[in-house]
């Protein structure tokens, strides 16, 4: 598992990376009431704003952590946004992105470094 400084988690399986937000992130956001996911097939570049999350407090974006193609999105969290508050690092993943080469992941934090980041 890798982590971004924007509080996303990345889990690699072959050339497909599953992306979600961390438990810390959902705690900071508060109760989540709306999620908009990208369409399957979209080509994304690192830094693109591809997900919108609205909590009871505010709207925030999630950016693509990697270059690649969106191959699957988790419609269950669109139907039930509150599930992200319950299981952010498990069943409530956001999208899967197929990447060209996994070297892109090397830039990101490991679990210890992420824990240091959130203190």
């Amino acid at each position: 598992m890798k982590y971004t400084e924007d509080h996303e988690w990345l889990s690699l399986d072959g050339d497909v990376v599953t992306v979600g937000i961390t438990d810390h992130a959902q705690e900071q956001l508060g109760d989540i009431v709306f999620i908009e996911l990208p369409e399957v097939g979209t080509q994304v570049s690192k830094g693109d704003e591809i997900v919108v999350i609205e909590s009871v407090k505010a709207a925030s974006d999630i950016t693509a952590p990697l270059d690649g193609e969106i191959v699957e999105v988790n419609e269950a969290i669109v139907e039930n946004p509150a599930s992200v508050n319950e299981d952010a690092e498990g069943s409530a993943w956001f999208f899967k992105v197929k990447v060209e080469g996994t070297a892109q992941l090397d830039d990101y934090l490991d679990e210890d470094a992420y824990k240091d980041l959130i203190g």
Partner: protein
């Protein structure tokens, strides 16, 4: 958070794990551990305790207090019976709203509660407008709201409030000193607002919070509760650019103060407001505050611009408050649109993150109030 004022319940908020934020010059709890959504739902299901001590508490004393206050508000104050409270607003010479407030006739004086952000201006406005009346800011009392279906049962364990009706007021002795109680609030729920001596405030709040049905509630849930109840937040849904007709608050102007009433006019902006109240035909281009329900799930928050059609070039209005409504289970907003577009079910478009999304005009409140009549 330097330079921010605190309320008598500040230490208790910290002990309860509140997340504190700056609000109207005060450091206030926006939420506690259970979070905004559960706090909202708890208030609708049982009882929520809110610290509203940042609001201004003012006493008006003197035989001319009611008559003089009528020179600043379009409400009937002379007609407000002893033991009763009324919603009112200060208007300016253009008919705009300077602040909204609660006025209670306590017999010996009038007790006024104003918004925190406006209180200094309001007190100055009262002092200059009420020359024969003593205007005293109450600075040694906290103000606590207890709201929800279990509020009566909870407060009754401390003082006898069961016989109080909606918008009645009473001063009652208690183990926490004299409590100035009104049966009112700003959540759409039955409940009470209680003014208590600052030295007794924490003990009083603790006594309530020890009860099974009572949870502390922050400003976050207070905002979603009042929005579901269709109630205006000053500085957002109403301000000096909106008059009471535009703001859909004409229900709060009693007949006696309207054109052809026996005490019509005589308040700032009476010309503008009076003309609109007596107009034979509504000006269809004049703005109206309306409820709005987005057709999709994306909340339309304050600042979202409204259009008459998906491809219209020019906006017709804007959202002034918007959030997810936990009790109604979908996003809700309030905003201003021209009167011609204010009928319930009118379809409009709100621009969210560059996309035009459909939204319908809806009746207010979004959730019916449960006041004890």
């Amino acid at each position: 958070m330097a330079d921010l004022k605190t309320t008598p319940l500040h230490a208790l908020h910290l002990e309860l794990g509140a997340r504190m934020v700056p609000f109207a010059g005060y450091e206030m709890p926006v939420q506690y551990a259970i979070g905004v959504m559960k706090e909202h739902q708890h208030t609708r299901a049982a009882a929520g305790l809110f610290d509203v001590s940042h609001m201004g508490q003012v006493l008006l004393t003197g035989s001319q207090a009611a008559a003089e206050l009528e020179s600043l508000v379009p409400q009937s104050i002379l007609g407000l019976d002893e033991g009763r409270q009324r919603y009112a607003f200060f208007t300016d010479s253009n008919g705009g709203i300077l602040d909204d407030l609660m006025v209670a006739n306590r017999g010996d004086d009038f007790f006024v509660v104003v918004n925190a952000a406006c209180k200094e201006d309001d007190i100055a406005h009262l002092r200059s407008g009420l020359t024969l009346t003593e205007v005293t800011e109450v600075t040694d009392r906290a103000l606590i709201a207890l709201q929800g279906p279990a509020a009566e049962a909870a407060l009754s364990r401390i003082v006898p409030v069961t016989d109080m009706g909606f918008m009645s007021v009473a001063t009652l002795p208690s183990p926490f000193g004299g409590l100035w109680i009104s049966r009112s609030g700003y959540t759409g729920e039955d409940g009470f607002e209680i003014s208590v001596q600052e030295g007794q405030a924490e003990a009083f709040a603790r006594a309530l919070l020890e009860m099974e049905e009572v949870e502390p509630i922050g400003l976050g849930a207070r905002d979603s509760l009042r929005l579901e109840a269709g109630l205006c937040l000053y500085g957002h849904d109403i301000d000096t650019t909106t008059d009471p007709v535009q703001a859909n608050l004409t229900w709060a102007i009693q007949k006696v103060r309207r054109p052809s009433g026996s005490r019509s006019g005589g308040y700032p902006g009476d010309g503008v407001i009076g003309r609109k109240l007596s107009a034979a035909e509504v000006d269809l281009d004049d703005a109206r505050r309306v409820g709005l329900i987005p057709e999709g799930r994306a909340p339309m928050r304050e600042g979202v611009i409204l259009f008459e059609a998906e491809d219209a070039a020019l906006p017709v209005g804007r959202v002034t408050s918007g959030a997810f409504g936990p009790t109604v289970g979908h996003p809700i907003s309030m905003g201003y649109v021209p009167a011609r577009l204010s009928a319930v079910d009118t379809r409009l478009w709100g621009e969210v993150r560059g996309k035009r999304l459909p939204v319908r005009v809806a009746a207010l409140p979004f959730r019916p109030a449960t006041y004890k009549r």
